[in-house]
Symmetry: C2
Subunit: 350 residues, 2 copies
């Protein structure tokens, strides 16, 4: 079932399980959205509070799009790359793709009565995180491959599409796609309006994201880069399919991000945004652009409206990145201070 | 030096060397271009002779872009993928990337006097194809890795850019980028004008193509997909680079083409064009699109103006593909009959 993993670490999943225990109970959401004054005509970033961060971002965009500026960047080089988990949508208490994995195990267990007594499945079915932890990386990988391979690319897409439109976040009781960040969606729109080409560059599964990213962020499939498993072409008697193999192809995290950016995009971004140490190499890579560049970190500081975590979190650990961003004066978004609302549904609740 | 190759075959290079002997002496080019009448205002494909092939192509595009047609395809699904070697530019007597490899060996030999007596380098330096053939796959791979890895991505780009603007085809005495097919450039332009997104999907090296494809075909870097070697991020004391490793990452040929199309583009093409059996899987994949699709094969039939070859050629072998295309009534371009000129410089010579 499980092929040999060439990568030494499988970070995404490693973090995932060992984190459930540390998740904070959600406190009551205070509707700070009441302060929002949307002036769409004039303000492209209405859900951002005025302050240095908003000023930095807009000042940068105005500068590099001004053909009279020494920092002018032509349209074909206006590339922006954003991490997904924790940067464009929430990632607590576990990466949302892990909820997908757990739900798949529940569903598949109907055909596998033996899983009730077989690890690592038993631990998932019982949501026994301590038992799951004991299964280690090998158990996690088995769960990943069981739920993400063995079907065709089309079948997997259908499974994800079905799940993403029905499954709800256990604490927020919202669809996962409702837990995207309104201010970041405005930022993507603002950049596209200024002739940027915006990509997602995520450690999450590429094929897990593509079915819903267009609707959630307005980003088409070919602008979504992520971790991949291998696929294999099968002629299938004239109805060709791509079969998803139980083998890791590429882990799009840390040093993998500059590699995938080079491969898929072919040029360095001038804007990169992330929220964790896994994004640091992407931001360094962007920082080395000959063009003036903008490096953005989302700092999770809002324990009321979202979650508050950084240096000691297993999911979205932000430690080295925080030091380097501070030292180099990169743009650090303080979610609590800089964002009027977190999620789009809070706009409507106003 | 050479890492383990996971792919069983390394087709691109295998063909390369064993083919030199069978290359035909170029006959004098007759200027059949004199018959060309460019009517740019009305005819988007002026270098194509009237006939079934031109009618097929234009009829298809008119059909799927007509919002009143039952076959109408919205813009975001108008994806076209073309092979490069033998489809957009010539590939005889050897793939042009092999000339690059040989020239690099000549250049690098200045620093390696020992190569004069060391295989496989000696064979290349002496252009002794029989001796080179004896080095087999292992020798070829060593040559590939010696010339394509060990530097940064930027350094490799500079090397290719320098070579492509100076090196000349040994028989045609033209820059290699002058040996692109004028009718195919018109086809790319015609498709883009009809809101297609056109990609190259080639077994050739992605990083070998990207430095010159925008100028040659008007296709930007992120629309050029090809075979890759692994790269590795190096922080390099704050001036990060990607180092090219002596390890194959992906062979974008045969069944690899649908795989790469799925990965880079995320949806099936509605038009695919190739010239060899290595493109067959891409055309089958395209043929399975729920939208009406167009499968195009370039058949090399012109021994005077280009080269004539198909079933028995090592480079660009066109055998199974020819049978399947004939059986399924795909569009087969007869270069001799369907193209008024082959290369852009023949237009100017009129």
């Amino acid at each position: 079932m499980i092929s040999v993993i060439k990568k030494a670490t499988f970070i995404v999943l490693a973090f995932v399980v060992f984190t459930n225990c540390e998740s904070k109970k959600e406190e009551k959401v205070e509707d700070t959205a009441s302060e929002v004054e949307v002036k769409k005509e004039e303000d492209p970033l209405p859900s951002w509070n005025d302050g240095d961060v908003k000023k930095n971002i807009m000042g940068y965009v105005q500068d590099i799009t001004d053909s009279n500026s020494p920092n002018f960047v032509e349209e074909q080089h206006r590339i922006a790359t954003f991490d997904n988990d924790g940067t464009l949508w929430s990632e607590k208490p576990m990466y949302f793709q892990v909820y997908f994995m757990f739900d798949r195990i529940d569903e598949m267990a109907k055909e596998h009565p033996e899983w009730k007594n077989k690890q690592p499945y038993k631990a998932v079915l019982e949501r026994d995180m301590e038992a799951l932890k004991k299964q280690g990386m090998k158990g996690l990988l088995e769960l990943l491959m069981t739920t993400h391979s063995g079907m065709t690319s089309t079948e997997f897409e259908d499974i994800v599409s079905q799940w993403i439109t029905t499954a709800k976040h256990p604490e927020k009781d919202k669809l996962f796609t409702e837990l995207v960040y309104q201010p970041m969606i405005e930022l993507i729109d603002y950049l596209e309006a200024n002739d940027f080409t915006v990509y997602i560059v995520s450690a999450g599964g590429m094929d897990f994201m593509r079915p819903w990213t267009e609707k959630a962020y307005g980003l088409p499939r070919n602008r979504v880069i992520g971790s991949t498993i291998k696929t294999e072409y099968d002629y299938n008697n004239g109805k060709p399919v791509l079969k998803r193999k139980a083998e890791v192809d590429f882990i799009d995290d840390h040093a993998g991000k500059p590699v995938s950016i080079f491969k898929y995009i072919g040029q360095k971004p001038i804007i990169a945004g992330g929220n964790s140490d896994g994004d640091l190499e992407m931001l360094q890579w962007t920082d080395s652009n000959d063009f003036k560049s903008l490096k953005i970190y989302v700092h999770h500081t809002d324990s009321i409206r979202e979650w508050s975590y950084d240096r000691n979190s297993m999911v979205g650990k932000f430690d080295k990145g925080l030091d380097e961003a501070t030292k180099k004066n990169w743009t650090i978004i303080d979610m609590k201070k800089d964002w009027k609302v977190i999620y789009p549904y809070q706009l409507e609740e106003k």
